[in-house]
Symmetry: C2
């Protein structure tokens, strides 16, 4: 499994960003072929100092071929175009291989 | 569900880092009480330019109380101490609330 990770820095106007992100971008991104799961997480703090990011989005695909196909599909291009319209200066993206997924004891 | 996200920048000696991380740190971190899941992902590229990070680790807990309890537990302190010994200048940590987890169609 691979994922596209998008890290978003703090927007100037969070309310406006949230509207553009959750109401417009997520529905577009969700249409990408081969997408297995989206996990969006809202950063609310850090163990030390201030958190460097505002939002973390992870889009899961079976493998890199599927991810590439999704990004170059019409749906992927539409999602990317939309994103660049409101978050170009906020977003950092990277590809990652899910190496370890360790289920742990739920007894505690 | 909340998660502790740790972003690691590129280490000077990846092989040494991997050994310290996977052989020493992960087993220590896995002992934290209340930990529901660890997902470790290896960054291998970016859509544009070079990726800013080397590794992404996500530790899932039921809520912030459970995460705080884990971090202040003896197991959590041991894991943090171990981490600071080899990755202090590489790691960026943050707390995040998992806001959306969207299962998508598996038909394509």
């Amino acid at each position: 499994m691979v994922k596209l990770i998008a890290l978003y820095k703090n927007p100037v106007t969070p309310q406006e960003f949230d509207q553009q992100y959750f109401q417009d971008h997520i529905p577009l991104a969700s249409k990408m072929p081969g997408l297995r799961k989206i996990e969006v997480s809202r950063v609310f703090g850090a163990p030390q100092g201030e958190a460097e990011y505002y939002l973390v989005a992870e889009l899961y695909f079976d493998d890199m071929d599927a991810l590439k196909a999704a990004m170059t599909s019409p749906e992927g291009k539409a999602a990317a175009k939309n994103l660049m319209g409101f978050a170009k200066d906020l977003v950092t993206m990277m590809f990652a291989q899910v190496e370890e997924k360790i289920p742990t004891c739920t007894c505690s």
